[in-house]
């Protein structure tokens, strides 16, 4: 499977296993479309949302356009909070890390971030 550098890879190998059936997944309250039954192997591309850090398994049959933030020029997932404004998780992590450094060192704190990644809201 050829991957672009900006993608992740998920492998579930049941070639020598009874596997997971759709019924197993439904019993556990999970999405039955992710079943990998006996003798099968699943290889899927994954992408990580630049705003909330969610790892999304790409559905190759999807026809709707995928989310893309024109401001940070990165993939974003379908969650409404990720599609409102540009809230890069990396920017928020850098901010909170710097804030923690400043707290430890007794320096003046940074001003509050205008928009925080959904991952770090409430911190």
């Amino acid at each position: 499977m050829r991957l672009r550098p900006s993608e992740g890879h998920l492998l579930v190998d049941h070639r020598a296993s009874p596997g997971i059936t759709a019924e197993d997944l439904m019993r556990a309250g999970l999405d039955p479309s992710m079943a990998v039954p006996e003798g099968k192997i699943l290889e899927a591309q994954t992408k990580t949302c630049a705003h909330c850090n969610d790892v999304v398994i790409m559905n190759p049959n999807r026809v709707r356009p995928r989310g893309h933030c024109r401001k940070c020029n990165k993939f974003i997932c379908d969650k409404p909070e990720c599609n409102q404004e540009c809230t890069p998780v990396d920017k928020s992590l850098d901010h909170f890390q710097e804030q923690a450094f400043r707290k430890e060192a007794g320096y003046n704190l940074l001003p509050l971030l205008h928009s925080v990644s959904p991952l770090l809201k409430g911190q």
């Binding site: 991957l3 550098p5 296993s17 556990a28 999970l30 994954t46 990580t48 992590l93 890390q97 809201k121």
Partner: protein, 171 residues
């Protein structure tokens, strides 16, 4: 930066709901080494070792209660160290734990990211790999809910023997 691997040879999974305490030796938790440390997870691998069919609904998730006073890993059955033998030792390396004084709890927040690694532990394997730093599963600090991630069995998991590793990079 050096990549690290936190590995457990064998552990028996257990079905545990979100926001419930995980039980000893049924999970792997990776906790930041300090309040300012960042750890980026780039790979999770789980290999089934069960001797009969055992569906695993394994989840890599952030913890709303982090492990307190983690017990040191037992040599020969688990390890947490750099992949590069020439790596300089960190003053406060990230902590890998399989049990502790207070057991961690997986967050049930709908806004915190997690990775579902469903497979059958009877002969099955699963692996998630991020190819790019933008794709990493990111941790910050050592407190809830972004300072620790755990790999554990979600509700519905059939107890089964697995071995796993988590590859991460301390920034």
């Amino acid at each position: 930066m050096t990549k690290y691997s936190f590995m457990v040879n064998s552990f028996t999974t257990a079905a545990t709901a979100d926001a419930a305490a995980l039980t000893t030796l049924t999970y792997m938790a990776l906790n930041g080494g300090s309040a300012t440390q960042r750890n980026d997870i780039s790979e999770v691998y789980i290999g089934g070792q069960a001797t009969s069919s055992a569906p695993q609904y394994m989840v890599l998730a952030r913890d709303s209660t982090v492990v307190a006073t983690p017990t040191a890993l037992s040599a020969g059955s688990a390890a947490n160290g750099p992949l590069d033998p020439a790596a300089a030792a960190l003053a406060a390396p990230a902590v890998g734990a399989v049990t502790g004084g207070t057991q961690p709890q997986r967050s049930n927040s709908a806004t915190l990211s997690r990775i579902n690694l469903t497979f059958n532990a009877f002969g099955g394997i699963t692996r998630w790999t991020a190819m790019d730093p933008n794709e990493y599963f990111k941790l910050l600090g050592n407190t809830a809910s972004n300072g620790e991630a755990s790999l554990s069995g979600f509700t519905g998991t059939t107890a089964g023997l697995v071995g796993a590793h988590i590859v991460y990079e301390t920034i």
